[in-house]
Symmetry: C2
Subunit: 151 residues, 2 copies
Amino acid sequence: MAEPETFKIRRLEISDKKKGFIELLGQLTVAGSLTDEEFDRRFEEISSYGDDHVICVIEDEASGKIAATGSVMIEKKFVRSCGKVGHIEDVVVDSGFRGKQLGKTVVEFLMDHCKAMGCYKVILDCSVEKKSFYEKCGLTHKAIQMSKYFA
Amino acid sequence: MAEPETFKIRRLEISDKKKGFIELLGQLTVAGSLTDEEFDRRFEEISSYGDDHVICVIEDEASGKIAATGSVMIEKKFVRSCGKVGHIEDVVVDSGFRGKQLGKTVVEFLMDHCKAMGCYKVILDCSVEKKSFYEKCGLTHKAIQMSKYFA
């Protein structure tokens, strides 16, 4: 009989590289290769922003694998009387853990963080296919995203 | 006879509050009121990020007014072998200075900064009406923006 699944949501820890965090990002986009040193350096860089750049993960404690992740970066603006905006990025759920509301749990965790930080709004970019998922999370379609790739 | 217009592009300086910077942002969205102290504090907060959060302005030196502005925030990611992404925000040209390519100059300044910082892409969100302007700047329509307002 399979063990019951026990999911725990928390901030990314430096030991999560060994729990499949990078492989999980590879299900979203090109993760690329990176050494332990490169991972550790980037982890420290992001950590230095404290609450202004938070990466959350959901760990499946039964398997010790990272099942879902998402990040948010807080932008400090002059508009809206020095308002702040949360930018949600890189939300992905492991293909073996879909259908368990983990994506929604990640987005809600990140939105709660933005609210606690005093943001007046949270924004994110996604494909048209993801629109209904984010609507279930309480977001609405607002504008279009433009991009330019340098590499 | 009117003086020739002399435009200078540079990073935001703390003295730009007196040159109409906040009023210019008010042409983009709700700027709100802010005291000199609030402005200075936010200026210092953003400045502390150094090259990771840059606000550029174009000053019309003849009038001493800020004619255009735009900002970019550099996001540090794990994907793409610890890649970086530039997020362009709050691009606006004063209504009295439109038709002089100042918006394009601002966007190119910010994109050049992203390239120099080693970003693999630059992204921004805009209304459908602004799509052709950003296409002239070299960007392409990629995805949709979702948002949720807390206040």
